[in-house]
């Protein structure tokens, strides 16, 4: 570990001077297209779905063929997606209900404070809503997880109990439908479940790693290409180091193991976008050299792989997302936003091979943490069109966006 720490400390040094083809999974595939053939022939459907960001299909396909590492990696993607959404959910629920209660008080019979308390409890702040009912406060103080709750609140907690047993369908459905419906003026108020994504994230992590910690992802490296293909780590060695350096599974790639090889020069860790943009420029410079070097040595098949599958772009996006997660965890949303804006393939908008669903969840989080809730809705809407499970978050964020501008006068102009 000390050696790795030293490696990380060195990452602020001079980028490599010579242009060389990468030795990791990108170089291996482009240099040896026959290995790609071997990889996909065994699990074509699974890897095609994995590349297309259709994790559900990938998991099903990998299960059929017994490709355990591919399956675990797809399950981790789903877990990270829900983890990313869980942070957004916690932010919008706690901000909305706190601001609304502060502004308008707590209407008689409304459960908004109870849902706020539940949201805060899921996010680790159990005392944020003293207005919650005594019944809810007491239950939250005693339970370790929502699956242990037996509250008469909204649609209840049966879905959590099923999820704890590995049946996730009911909880996924609960995330996209109103959890509590109550009268509000002449209409009804719809409140969504604030804990669903956190529970789904935990459940999917169990699917990915069983009872082992996420750092056991280091073992994937032994599987060869299935453990590295389309990943934000270059090879098994880097993955091993990353599992020691990174603070969370979502930050694998951002731990620093690859920084010297990637030409990344760390910028001052301030919460502004310019440093992140400079870092990314360093990365892009190296990736540009990789592209040139690979095209010089690759066969036609290798060149096709490189361009048709967008291998370098995929690595770049996954890597930048890991950097953004790290920045968000460190309380630097502007820095995260810059990484994510640069990661976003705007010419091919929407969830698909070019853009991960997590990218949109992370963009939404970065925006909301800067107070830009209305702007976050752009990303949440894109997300909902591909992943309806995010509908509850979109609606809650929409309410928050309305509340944040409720005292403003609008402006409209022609182009």
């Amino acid at each position: 570990l000390p050696g790795l720490v030293a490696l990380q400390a060195c990452s602020g040094g001079t980028p490599p001077e010579e242009s060389v083809a990468p030795s990791g999974w990108i170089g291996e595939l482009v240099g040896h297209p026959e290995r790609f053939q071997v990889l996909v022939e065994a699990n074509r459907e699974g890897w095609v779905a994995f590349h297309a960001r259709d994790e559900a299909a990938a998991i099903a396909a990998f299960k059929r063929t017994g490709e355990a590492v591919g399956e675990a990696r797809a399950e981790l993607q789903v877990a990270l997606f829900h983890e990313d959404l869980a942070r957004v959910s916690g932010l919008v629920h706690t901000r909305l209900w706190r601001a609304q209660i502060n502004r308008n008080g707590l209407p008689a019979g409304s459960r908004m404070a109870d849902v706020g308390a539940l949201a805060a409890w899921c996010g680790g702040s159990p005392t944020a809503f003293p207005e919650a009912s005594a019944e809810v406060a007491q239950a939250l103080a005693q339970a370790k997880g929502p699956e242990e709750l037996d509250l008469a609140l909204g649609k209840g907690f049966e879905a959590y109990k099923l999820a704890a047993k590995g049946d996730l369908a009911a909880l996924e459905a609960q995330a996209s439908r109103p959890f509590v419906t109550e009268a509000s003026a002449e209409r009804t108020r719809e409140i969504y479940d604030p804990c669903a994504h956190a529970a789904l994230a935990r459940a999917w992590m169990v699917q990915a790693f069983g009872d082992k910690p996420w750092r056991s992802a280091a073992d994937w490296g032994q599987a060869g290409l299935p453990g590295t293909f389309l990943a934000p780590w270059t090879d098994a060695d880097a993955l091993g180091k990353e599992t020691l350096l990174a603070s969370a599974a979502g930050e694998l790639g951002a731990g620093g193991a690859d920084y010297p090889e990637l030409g990344v020069v760390l910028s001052p860790q301030a919460d502004e976008g310019q440093g992140a943009r400079e870092e990314t420029r360093g990365l892009d410079s190296t990736l540009g050299e990789w592209r040139v070097a690979l095209n010089e040595v690759a066969t036609d098949d290798g060149k096709d792989l490189l361009s048709n599958l967008g291998l370098i772009g995929r690595f770049r996006q996954e890597w930048l997302m890991a950097r953004a997660r790290k920045a968000l965890r460190e309380g630097q949303p502007r820095r995260a936003q810059a990484f994510l804006d640069l990661a976003h393939d705007v010419a091919t908008p929407g969830v698909g091979p070019a853009n991960s669903p997590s990218l949109y969840a992370l963009l939404a989080e970065a925006e909301i943490r800067q107070g830009h809730t209305r702007e976050a809705l752009v990303h949440l809407q894109t997300l909902v069109e591909a992943r309806p499970v995010a509908t509850g978050i979109r609606e809650t964020a929409a309410d928050l966006a309305v509340l944040e501008t409720i005292d403003r006068l609008g402006d409209s102009k022609e182009p």
């Binding site: 909305l96 609304q100 502004r103 308008n104 509000s184 003026a185 209409r187 108020r189 719809e190 502004e272 976008g273 310019q274 943009r277 420029r281 892009d284 410079s285 540009g288 502007r334 804006d341 640069l342 393939d345 705007v346 010419a347 908008p349 800067q370 107070g371 830009h372 209305r374 702007e375 809705l377 752009v378 949440l380 809407q381 894109t382 929409a398 309410d399 928050l400 966006a401 309305v402 509340l403 944040e404 501008t405 409720i406 005292d407 403003r408 006068l409 609008g410 402006d411 409209s412 102009k413 022609e414 182009p415």
Partner: protein, 514 residues
């Protein structure tokens, strides 16, 4: 860097590129300003009469309000220093920032604030922004640096409404301000940049205000009018510009892959529409409007100009107010035929006729918006295939403001609206709205818009405006078309860029250039 240009590539771009090349060479010899492109230069620079985004962007550089948005989009003092609400929240005493001067050196005082409020409220001014001060019942200056604002009703957060730009009282003879007043081409503000010159080529030069209370980093800005969007992207790539305010979707891939350029999201909540003059002849009939809506393949209109979302109502799809239960209308000629027949029209030969008159659309749009012309031509082709003649009219800015904004003298228009994050469609859809060019009136819509304005319950406001969406989608005062994905592009030479989601330049004082 400029010497690395591949001249063969430039020559292949045609005559326009030669101009670009000459500009690049020019840039080698002289320190270049921050140059940005607008499709059209502002017609006038006076915030009382702002109608376009390009005008608003210039206003943001030159003028200031009492409050502005900070980076977290919260109201932060600009010309105000502090404010104290009364106990009943029906008035606000605002202490003004001291030591502020107008660009001509005159001291900024409370009289300027009072003048601006009075001018905006003065019916003779006919300000397009008058609604922004409707909540203020009076403004008085207690002393040079204190102004007391009184409100029609208690205001929970009045600072949020005090972002309108303040004008210099000493430059106007009275509060009845005229659109064609000399100020429009010789404006002064208190902001970080001074309008130095309106140039012959429709460009505008702005210089850093050395007396500004803050500190801007960029010395000079140049707004260049470049109507040809294709040309805009090339100018940026060849470093003859530092920024494009709005990039066409078709240019996104090229610009994203250019290592000298960076893209910044710039979502102004814009949507395109065909607006009917519901007070005139044929277009009074909702059956005819609905029929037209059923004859248009909106996807076909969008595809040639870019990527975006088709919409079913007066909000972008990411809006809190967008009603996702209202489906985007699909082209349905059979339904259109039934509607026209119900309205008394007959298809005679290949032309719809009624009382001896053909069904004909005089469709007006702005002449200097290239993509709008493309859409008009496309629309003309689509409707003519179904027996409806379309007569396009491409209007210049002055004619547009006169015929559409002032006189409401048109049949049908094609245009766009851009909204800030409040997405307040009151002015477009309320019968008393000052941007309701088509004279649309529906009491159910009015009631909901009125109620939504007063509501402090976000769920209620959201529900009310989603109901408005559903109603207007049935009434068809406009044919709601699409939104376009929107990005700004900036040279990597420009550092520390943070773009305001609507006004663009709000935080331009932080930007710097290599």
């Amino acid at each position: 860097m400029n010497h690395s240009i591949d001249l063969r590539r430039v020559m292949n771009l045609g005559p326009a590129a030669l101009v670009a090349t000459s500009l690049v060479i020019g840039a080698t010899a002289f320190a270049a300003p921050f140059r940005y492109a607008e499709d059209r230069a502002p017609g006038i620079v006076n915030p009382l009469f702002g109608t376009t985004m390009s005008e608003s962007r210039v206003h943001e550089l030159v003028f200031e309000g009492l409050y502005t948005d900070d980076l977290d989009l919260r109201s932060a003092p600009a010309l105000a220093e502090s404010a104290e609400p009364s106990a009943d929240k029906k008035s606000l005493t605002v202490k003004l920032r001291s030591g502020v001067t107008w660009h001509d050196g005159t001291a900024f005082t409370a009289k300027d604030v009072v003048f601006t409020v009075d001018a905006m409220k003065n019916a003779e001014t006919a300000s397009t922004e008058g609604a922004r001060v409707a909540f203020i019942s009076g403004a008085t200056a207690s002393d040079d640096h204190t102004v007391v604002l009184t409100f029609q009703t208690p205001e929970a957060a009045p600072q949020d409404k005090l972002h309108f730009k303040i004008l210099p009282a000493h430059k106007f003879p009275s509060t009845a301000v005229k659109r064609n007043d000399a100020f429009r081409s010789n404006p002064i503000g208190t902001g970080p940049f001074v309008v130095e010159n309106f140039n012959d080529d429709n460009s505008v030069t702005l210089k850093k205000n050395p007396s500004w209370w803050g500190k801007a980093q960029i010395d000079e800005l140049l707004l260049r009018e470049v109507a040809d969007k294709n040309y805009q992207a090339k100018l940026l790539i060849y470093e003859s510009l530092e920024a494009l305010v709005r990039v066409l979707p078709r240019d996104l891939a090229a610009l994203q892959n250019d290592r000298k350029v960076e893209l910044y999201p710039y979502q102004t909540n814009s949507w395109w529409y065909v607006g009917f003059n519901t007070q005139q002849g044929t277009w009074k009939d909702p059956l005819v409007r609905e029929a037209i809506a059923n004859l248009v393949d909106v996807d076909e209109l969008l595809r040639p100009i870019g990527t975006g979302d088709l919409i079913s109502g007066p909000f972008v799809k990411s809006s809190p107010y967008y009603n996702h239960e209202v489906e985007v209308r699909k082209k349905d000629p059979a339904r259109a035929q039934a509607l026209l027949e119900e309205a008394g029209w007959q298809l005679i030969g290949r032309q719809w006729m009624k009382d001896g008159r053909p069904l004909q659309i005089r469709l007006a749009t702005l002449s200097d918006v290239e993509t709008a012309q493309d859409v008009v031509i496309n629309l003309q082709s689509q409707l003519q295939n179904h027996g409806i003649a379309v007569e396009p009219a491409f209007l210049g800015q002055a004619e547009w403001k006169e015929k559409v904004w002032r006189d409401r003298n048109f049949d049908v228009i094609l245009s766009q609206w851009s909204f800030d994050r409040n997405e307040d469609v009151y002015q477009q859809l309320h019968s008393k709205g000052n941007r309701n060019f088509g004279g649309y009136a529906n009491t159910e819509v009015d009631q909901r818009l009125d109620k939504a304005r007063l509501s402090t319950d976000p769920q209620e406001k959201k529900a009310l405006l989603r109901e408005v969406h559903a109603i207007v989608a049935k009434d068809n005062p406009m044919l709601f078309l699409f939104t376009l994905d929107s990005y700004a592009a900036m040279s990597v030479k420009v550092k520390n860029v943070v773009v305001h989601p609507f006004y663009f330049f709000t935080w331009a004082d932080r930007w710097s250039m290599n």
